[in-house]
Amino acid sequence: MIGSLGELLRRAWKYPSGKWGALALVALALVAIAAPPLLPDPAEMPDAVQGATPPSRAHPMGTDQLNRDMLARVVVGGRISLSVAVLAVLLSLTLGALVGLIAGYAGGWLDAILMRGVDAALAIPRLFVLLLLLVVWERIPLGALILVIGTTGWFATSRLVRGEVLRLRHQPFVTASEALGATGWRTMMRHLLPNAAGPLLVAATLGVGDVILLEAGLSFLGLGVQPPTPSWGGMVLEARPLIVTAPWTAIFPGAAIVLTVLSVNLLGDALQAALDPRSA
């Protein structure tokens, strides 16, 4: 499975969108991981009374309404947003793959029930499910946020995996594995899952972009990452009253979101094209 994924990544690298997307992501990740110690403490408010100041040499992205360094906040916010997204997507992926495998492999009434449930769940827009789950908390712990986002995002993935499983269910190599006494579990993990690895990787990549936007939106509504922990969406929320007088307080966090999501989507596109060149 790792081998075929590696092959896919190599092929995706050939596309310019893939190259740029991957490079940008690596750069962003590096900055998110390594930069914070080099930057001023985002919580530091040396002279809060001064309020927001425009970009300058001391503060390349300016300062926000409490005179905190914007660059530091954007970078730390990026760290938070990326971690939330990656962890949530991993959770969704696992759940979705599990359900999809079981439904596709078992077939029959189990499949029917599971898919009916998935269809109904897909009818409820994800945002609303999250709103209903999150609105009751006073302060949402980050772990709970990740859990909640992760458990609401597996439905489409399960359909994807189920589709792949159905496609391969009755192929000779699967029957051979079963004839040799492999348990259902083993067959699913060793034979069926690896074949879904490619589409899963594409879905995961694009999923990260979706979650970043989702988490930013939730933070904008006050239901995501809680202040004073910086998050891109939260920063835009705080910048709202200053939008005319200090537009940089909103522009930079938003631009960070755009850059990150764009890179992720470009990479996802390239992976998709590598998987199925005719659709490029």
Binding site: R116, A123, F220, N265, S279
Partner: protein
């Protein structure tokens, strides 16, 4: 044909019922006291509590609760708002629905005209600079959070340069006896920025779907055959090739509604557009659980309906799937 329609409608109803069930489960699973969710900070009398207990069945066995919940939903009774007490949720939803329909309708229209035209053009000029750059712009726009783009547009186009209004659907200073045309134009001016924001951030979906569908149809024999008959390039492109992309595009229509609805929560709230989206956003701030639940139910119903409409569309558009 009628039997097929009946069967599909029943399936859709079943899906919706399961969705409502899931929402109930969600409500029960959420930590905290369900009663406080329904009451909030309000000062409630004992009689009211008793009424709520009955209505939502809190404190009763789970199945009874479910029954009460479903019965209420079937009756069209979605409870009472906390923030706007004693307004009923259904009344609030009904009041806000038209504004969202207007905004949503315009965005849908823009997406499925401009988006389609661009997607087709991209496919025809595959690999060209137009194709590549249009794709990149659309992707960049898709990466923008609706609330951020909305804020930026408001900041510059409304507040700084005073080109367009910054909030709401109508000008509160408009005289009461203004004629329909003035009123209509006023609404149009207010509609521009929110519609632009929502359309820009979602047009990539339509464009990409259309482009991919056209590319796969171009490969098919009957397109060459149509050219061989001496039909004009326009006829071949639209009358033959594009006509065969209607099925995948209808599928997109079914998937598109959740995207629109989610996006409108943010955009309506930024522009203070008096629709369902801003209602939901306000409900969040006020922790008005009944309103959120009611909106979720309404929206789920709409999504199921759009799926049904898409199915009906397939039958109309593709003679091969018509049940004989």
């Amino acid at each position: 044909m009628i039997r097929w329609l009946l069967r599909r409608t029943l399936q859709a109803a079943a899906t919706f019922a399961i969705a409502v069930l899931l929402l109930f489960v969600l409500m029960r699973l959420t930590p905290g006291d369900p009663l406080s969710r329904l009451v909030g900070d309000r000062d409630v009398s004992a009689a009211e509590i008793q009424q709520l207990r009955q209505r939502y069945g809190t404190g009763e066995p789970l199945l009874t609760q479910l029954g009460a919940f479903l019965a209420g939903a079937a009756r069209g009774d979605l409870g009472t708002s906390i923030e706007h007490y004693p307004d009923r949720v259904t009344a609030l939803l009904a009041a806000r629905l038209p504004a969202t329909l207007l905004l949503g309708g315009v965005v849908l229209f823009l997406n499925f005209t401009v988006g389609i035209w661009l997607g087709v053009r991209q496919a025809v000029r595959r690999g060209s600079r137009f194709d590549r750059w249009t794709g990149r712009f659309a992707l960049a726009a898709y990466a923008m959070p609706g609330f951020w783009l909305g804020l930026v547009l408001v900041a510059f186009l409304s507040l700084r340069w005073r080109l367009l209004p910054s909030a709401q659907m109508t000008d509160p200073l408009l005289p009461a006896d203004a004629d329909a045309l003035t009123r209509g134009l006023d609404i149009l001016r207010h509609l521009t920025l929110p519609a632009l924001t929502l359309s820009l951030t979602s047009i990539a979906l339509t464009m990409r779907h259309q482009r991919a569908a056209m590319l796969s149809v171009f490969r098919l024999d009957f397109v060459t055959a149509a050219r061989a008959r001496g039909l004009s390039e326009k006829q071949v492109r639209w009358g033959h090739a594009w006509r065969n992309t209607l099925v995948p595009m209808l599928t997109l229509l079914g998937l598109w509604l959740p995207v629109l609805v989610s996006g409108s929560v943010f955009v309506e709230s930024v522009f203070n557009w008096p629709g369902l989206g801003s209602l939901a956003a306000q409900a969040i701030a006020a922790r008005d659980y009944p309103v959120l639940l009611g909106t979720a139910m309404l929206v789920s119903g709409a999504v199921v309906l759009s799926g049904l409409a898409a199915d009906l569309g397939y039958v109309l558009v593709d003679p091969r799937v018509r049940p004989s």
